[in-house]
Amino acid sequence: MSSRDTILATLRANRPDPAAHELPPVAVLGDMDAGKARFEDALQLLGGQILLPQEGDTLATAIARRFPDAKIICSAVPDFEGTIRLEDVTSPQQAAATDVLVVRSPFGISEMGSIFLSEAQLNSLNSAAHLTQHIVVILSEKNLTANMHTAYVERPEFHTANYGVLMTGPSATADIQGVLIRGAQGVRSLSVWWE
């Protein structure tokens, strides 16, 4: 008998009575506020930033101001130029040279300040989102969902994307004597630009 069959047979023999353990219906609990303010508070708590436009700003000028030293600004969206387009980045090794990656997220979660990215937004180069030094995420207020329950119930991406990451602020660690450090292994900063 294969290990698979042995494991399944042992589980069948050993399990508690299924009739005594009903599956509860899907829960949609908690605060249903799907607002921008809640999203921003949550994002900032986890070290994310809001890229605020100044008078007359475009995304390009806002990025130039926020990242004055950035040499390679990679765009994954049609409406922003950057210095290189993500379609022209062919390998993780090339993606690792990126200073700023600009992407559009299909939805955000107000409870957590999370944004979602999948291969659809990353031109199937998923590592680009983590190898870039900084990431700027374009997000629309109308694409906010209230909390984790509503996100999983409402968003089809969780059923369709092969790779789907909820990013909530930048990479972080507190593994050295409990000191919180932003920008551990992945992005050093994550900024949201409202459209």
């Binding site: 290990s3 698979r4 042995t6 494991i7 399944l8 042992t10 589980l11 069948r12 050993n14 399990r15 508690p16 299924p18 353990h21 009903e22 599956l23 509860p24 899907v26 829960a27 949609v28 609990l29 908690g30 708590l45 986890l46 070290g47 993780p92 090794q93 690792a96 409870e111 957590m112 998923n126 590592s127 983590h130 190898l131 909390n147 984790m148 329950h149 999983y152 119930v153 969780f158 059923h159 092969n162 790779y163 789907g164 909820l166 990013m167 909530t168 990479s171 972080a172 660690t173 507190a174 593994d175 050295i176 004597q177 409990g178 450090i181 920008g183 551990a184 292994q185 992945g186 992005v187």
Partner: protein, 469 residues
């Protein structure tokens, strides 16, 4: 030769001797517990979340074979190769074969307690595979040749100078670097080239979703995402108990996991892997390693609900004052003490006794595992299986006899030298001796309550009843 039980008490005593490390360890983990409390207070539905998480997990465990089959079918449909490992050896063999097939010599991996269980690095490295842990804490532990001391913060028992020394030896950095920021930066700079040239990536995982064939990985550093997406070969290892039925169930668990673990609402990265990336290959190894047997243990199967948040460790006053390494096991703290004996009853027979059974663990557990009650039950099982030290067993046996005989007991207790006159003195003396090592003994009294009552109440009663009683 029979394996010796872990000497938790002795290891703890050594841990306690180092004041700076002890103080930091206790306060850091207590701070995580308090941050967890703050998050709990923000969510009026916290207890309902716990109840639901527990119910979903219990249902899933009772239907585990069906959900695993459903997961497997969906994962395969999505192009994932699904493997089943009965134990650690089979797990390691499977991973080794996949790597060999691809000629992979360099493996980057994120933290996975299952690979620790299987002692995978020790298997792969002699076979020519360089394994690099990418989680900062786990990497520190790997470089120091230690097991993780905590399931969420593996190097929580170390201070900045400890890390500086380890990095200096391995990364040629300044041994006196006292800045956590610059040390973390050293790790980033050292890890990047390894990540970019690795042949294969490996991750653990927090959840399997039967409905979609997805596995979900929660990290803060982004190292799991790097490990999974930079190389074209991704192997994931998960215990078979990690499954939930529906994607919508993830809402309950994600809302509880990081809040319970670190006191942050969510991990920085919550990643859903449903299939290989473009041009890539994805494998998942479903590991049993004792879990299917544990499911049959009437008093202990609910320990399989565990989502590895570490909240029980953070709140445990014994864990905070003894450190994870003192448990001598992959899983430490309260959850370790109830699952380790299922791996090796004799070796871990001491761990259920490394607890005051205060019950804090049970009440912070996001999936409501009755940890302290299982500790109590394990003590019984271990006593029945003769896994208690001889002296302790004898003392309890004699004490039990004595407590059943009031006249003998009264003789023993009078003079307040409890039991000393009836129990073999050397046994009792040796066993009770540690009380006085860091503590004073109670003060002797003139009379016991029993004598006082006899003098002050029975006499009255006799008089009032005309001396009949």
């Amino acid at each position: 030769m029979k394996v010796k039980p872990v000497n938790h008490a002795k290891a703890a005593e050594e841990f306690l001797d180092d004041a700076p490390h002890l103080t930091f360890h206790d306060e850091r983990l207590w701070d995580m517990r308090q941050k967890r409390d703050q998050q709990m207070h923000l969510l009026p539905e916290w207890q309902e979340l716990r109840s639901r998480a527990s119910a979903i997990k219990e249902h899933t465990l009772a239907n585990l074979p069906e959900y695993l089959e459903q997961f497997e079918a969906n994962a395969k449909k999505n192009g994932i190769h699904v493997h089943w490992a009965a134990d650690g050896a089979e797990h390691n063999r499977i991973v080794g074969e996949i790597l060999e097939k691809h000629g992979a010599k360099s493996l980057i991996k994120s933290k996975s307690m299952v690979t620790e269980e299987c002692d995978m690095r020790a298997y792969l490295e002699p076979r020519g595979v360089t394994v690099t842990e990418t989680d900062l804490g786990e990497r520190i532990q790997q470089l120091d040749g230690q097991m993780p001391s905590h399931i969420v913060v593996p190097a929580v028992h170390k201070l900045v100078p400890d890390v500086a020394k380890i990095f200096a030896k391995n990364y040629n950095t300044d041994p006196n670097d006292n800045s956590p920021q610059s040390l973390a930066e050293s790790q980033r700079m050292a890890a990047r080239p390894v990540i970019l040239t690795a042949d294969a990536g490996m991750t653990g995982g927090n959840f399997l979703v039967a409905e979609t064939g997805t596995f979900v990985v929660c990290t803060n550093e982004g190292n799991a995402d790097l490990s999974a997406t930079v190389p074209n070969l991704h192997i994931a290892t998960l215990g078979i108990e990690r499954i939930v039925p529906r994607m919508a169930d993830m809402g309950v668990f994600i809302r509880l996991l990081s809040r319970s673990a670190l006191g942050s609402p969510i991990t920085q990265y919550t990643t859903h892997f449903r299939g290989p990336q473009k041009g890539g290959e994805m494998h998942i190894v479903l590991v049993d390693n004792g879990r299917s047997a544990r499911l049959g243990m009437e008093e202990f199967w609910t320990s399989l609900k565990c989502i590895r948040c570490g909240a029980c460790m953070n709140t445990c006053p014994v864990y905070r004052r003894s450190g994870g390494l003192s448990y001598g096991a992959v899983y430490s703290g309260p959850i370790g003490a109830i699952i380790d004996p299922t791996f090796n009853e004799r070796k871990y027979s001491t761990l259920p006794f490394a607890s005051t059974m205060n019950g804090s663990c049970t009440n912070v557990c996001p999936v409501k595992i009755n940890i302290h009650e299982q500790l109590y039950k394990w003590r019984r099982v271990l006593a029945e299986h003769h896994e208690l030290p001889f002296v302790k067993r004898e003392i309890m046996h004699m004490a039990g006899k004595l407590m059943g005989q009031p006249t003998l007991y009264r003789t023993a207790i009078n003079g307040t030298e409890v039991a000393l006159s009836t129990l073999p003195r050397f046994v009792l003396y040796n066993w009770l001796n540690p009380w006085g090592k860091h503590r004073e003994l109670p003060h002797p009294v003139k009379q016991t309550f029993h004598s006082w009552y006899k003098k002050n109440r029975l006499k009255d009663k006799k008089e009032s009843q005309g001396g009949k009683a």
